[in-house]
């Protein structure tokens, strides 16, 4: 109780001063504040912002833990120190060795992401004199999961400050942003430091330093392989589903993302409409490409053949599609707000993701750009959905008066 009382004293001492929001935030984050009501009938909503955010984080924790093991596993596998894991519970995967390497590489990403992001949130709260908002809790967790494991920490810090300031604070903070901050951060990294965000070196720890030496190891992702018509690089469908493949830290395991998604839908935090419709959108686009291959418009000599001929449902398992759909497209702030709008918004995200993925070899993954694009269009979609409803009801009203 010592710390709690000390924080409370500080809070009283700094009441109305500039630094007050900073102390209040630490206090309410760690403890229930002293000013809670005790008697009488008060209605308390259980789904406040803090709880919403924490639920999303809980859904992501399995991905993070899996990502740590996978980082170590891919490193050791590339070095040839262990054999390929057989299935999700393979004995070479869940080992202490893998976890130690993973912790060593992934924990700094988490610390930098939260440290820099929350520092900026605190600074803005103090300048503007409002309470520190919980919005960064989820963003801070998303960021380490969607970057390559070997990204230099200073680059991450620069990108996080850019994303939080330009992506969120200039619009007025949590709840006012147009673009998903985590994706703004990733897009910044992608365009600022493309050599660290794509290619066949960054996805496996150690591959960058070893490039060009006799010890060189490769860390090509499945998408990268397909884009160069090299096939799925020997990974089978179950590998893709379990996520025992190279990729960004936390986005490889479709299985755990699926569980996280079900958890979000069950707790009514994430919108099932967006998730379902974007899966449908991706499948439709995949089917169109498969059909184009079937009627021999695109032949094996084409550079698009590798990705177009991929069985349409495999698109759901590889790359960041599953992660983006479950955790980023459903962001309640930047997504469409109306139910009909959510269907359109989700469908277009899936549809455009796969289109960018196939047609643009410079961007081997399209889900980031697709979600950012649809973030921009979400208010427009809502506007037309609402207007259509207004029109429909006006018509009904007229019929009655006539």
């Amino acid at each position: 109780m010592g710390l709690k009382n000390k924080l409370h004293d500080l809070k009283v001492k700094y009441q109305g001063k500039k630094m007050a929001p900073a102390f209040n935030a630490i206090h309410t984050f760690l403890y229930a504040p002293n000013e809670t009501t005790h008697s009488g009938s008060h209605i308390r909503g259980a789904d406040d912002l803090k709880r919403t955010m924490n639920t999303v984080i809980m859904a992501m924790v399995p991905c993070l833990i899996f990502g740590m093991f996978n980082a170590g596993y891919q490193h050791n596998l590339a070095l040839g120190e262990i054999v390929k894991s057989s299935g999700f519970l393979g004995e070479t995967f869940w080992t202490l060795d893998n976890l130690v390497i993973g912790l060593w590489k992934v924990l700094p990403l988490v610390v930098v992401s939260y440290g820099v992001g929350l520092l900026i949130e605190f600074i803005f709260a103090v300048i503007k004199g409002h309470e520190v908002e919980e919005g960064y809790l989820v963003t801070g967790m998303l960021v380490p999961l969607i970057v390559p494991v070997d990204i230099p920490l200073w680059m991450l810090a620069v990108a996080v400050s850019f994303g939080v300031v330009i992506g969120k604070e200039v619009f007025g903070g949590t709840g006012m942003n147009i673009l998903n901050p985590a994706l703004t951060i990733r897009a910044f990294l992608f365009f600022a430091y493309p050599t660290w965000m794509s290619g066949d070196k960054v996805w496996v720890h150690g591959a960058v330093e070893r490039a060009g030496t006799p010890d060189a190891i490769s860390g090509e992702t499945i998408l990268g392989g397909l884009a160069q018509n090299k096939g799925a690089l020997g990974y089978d469908v179950m590998d893709m589903f379990y996520g025992i493949i190279p990729g960004s830290v936390g986005e490889t395991s479709a299985l755990l993302i699926l569980l996280g998604g079900l958890f979000l839908v069950f707790t009514k935090i994430g919108s099932w409409r967006i998730m379902l419709s974007s899966v449908i959108g991706a499948l439709v686009m995949g089917l169109i490409f498969n059909w184009v291959i079937d009627v021999d418009v695109i032949t094996e000599s084409s550079k698009f053949y590798g990705l177009m001929s991929l069985p349409f449902w495999h698109h759901l398992l590889i790359g960041g599609f599953a992660f983006g759909t479950v955790f980023m497209a459903t962001d309640p702030v930047t997504a469409s707000q109306t139910n009909k709008g959510k269907w359109i918004y989700g469908f277009l995200i899936g549809f455009i993701s796969i289109m960018i993925r196939v047609f643009n070899p410079a961007y081997p993954e399209g889900v980031m750009l697709a979600i950012l694009l649809m973030n921009v269009f979400a208010p427009t979609i809502d506007h037309y959905v609402v207007q259509a409803n207004v029109k429909k009801r006006l018509k009904r009203a007229k019929v009655k008066t006539a």
Binding site: P152, W154, V170, F188, F191, A192, W196
Partner: protein
């Protein structure tokens, strides 16, 4: 400054900050985004615009009473076009490489809305000396922003200033590159120029609250 009266000074100094053509009037954004990837190009563009706008304002001001108002736009265009062609030819003659780098953008000074804007708003209603000062002032205000944006974009995007490697050599890893620093490729893309201009507007308006509009 005995040379300039208080009013004349205002004509030059106002566009530099509180009535800046780019950050306050939000004109001429297109060229500010397109050519500011390098500091040198920004400076050449600034000098060219100072020449065109300063001289153009004087010419328009001198003939303002004999231009029929129905065809004034086409007369203004003729004047700008003539001046821009002079700039273009001088650049081609004395600095061919730079002229090639700037490409169409020197020619496109014609379409820079700041120039037509000043002709319409100032030169048509004021004497040649005042018009000259107004032209120089607005061109300088435009140039200041161009040079600030060009400075940051070249420094952070390429690690150079005016072509000199100030941050070290990225290939042989000297200077700050030895510590793992890398150039920010986003700085060389036009969207980042827009963000830099946005940040300048943000800083300027938070320092001078009178500039904030509702």
């Amino acid at each position: 400054m005995g040379l300039l009266s208080k009013k004349d000074r205002k004509l030059i100094l106002d566009p530099l900050a509180d009535d800046n053509p780019i950050t306050i009037q939000v004109l001429g954004i297109c060229s500010a985004l397109a050519i500011t990837a390098q500091l040198k190009a920004s400076i050449v563009m600034t000098v060219s615009v100072i020449f065109v706008l300063g001289l153009g304002n004087v010419v328009i001001s001198l003939i303002r009473n004999i231009i029929p108002s129905k065809i004034r736009i086409i007369v203004q265009l003729t004047v700008v076009a003539a001046l821009v062609i002079i700039v273009d030819q001088v650049l081609k003659a004395y600095s061919y490489q730079l002229s090639k780098e700037l490409g169409a953008f020197i020619g496109l000074i014609i379409t820079n809305c700041i120039i037509m804007g000043r002709f319409e708003a100032f030169a048509l209603g004021n004497g040649p000396w005042k018009s000259f000062l107004d032209g120089i002032g607005n061109a300088l205000g435009y140039g200041v922003i161009l040079i600030i944006v060009g400075f940051f974009r070249e420094l952070l995007g390429s690690g150079t200033l005016l072509g000199y490697k100030v941050l070290g050599d990225p290939i042989t890893k000297t200077g700050v590159y030895a510590f793992g620093y890398e150039n920010n490729g986003f700085m060389l893309l036009a969207p980042m120029a827009l963000i830099v201009v946005g940040i300048i507007i943000w800083v300027q308006r938070s320092r001078n609250k009178a500039l904030i509009e509702d």
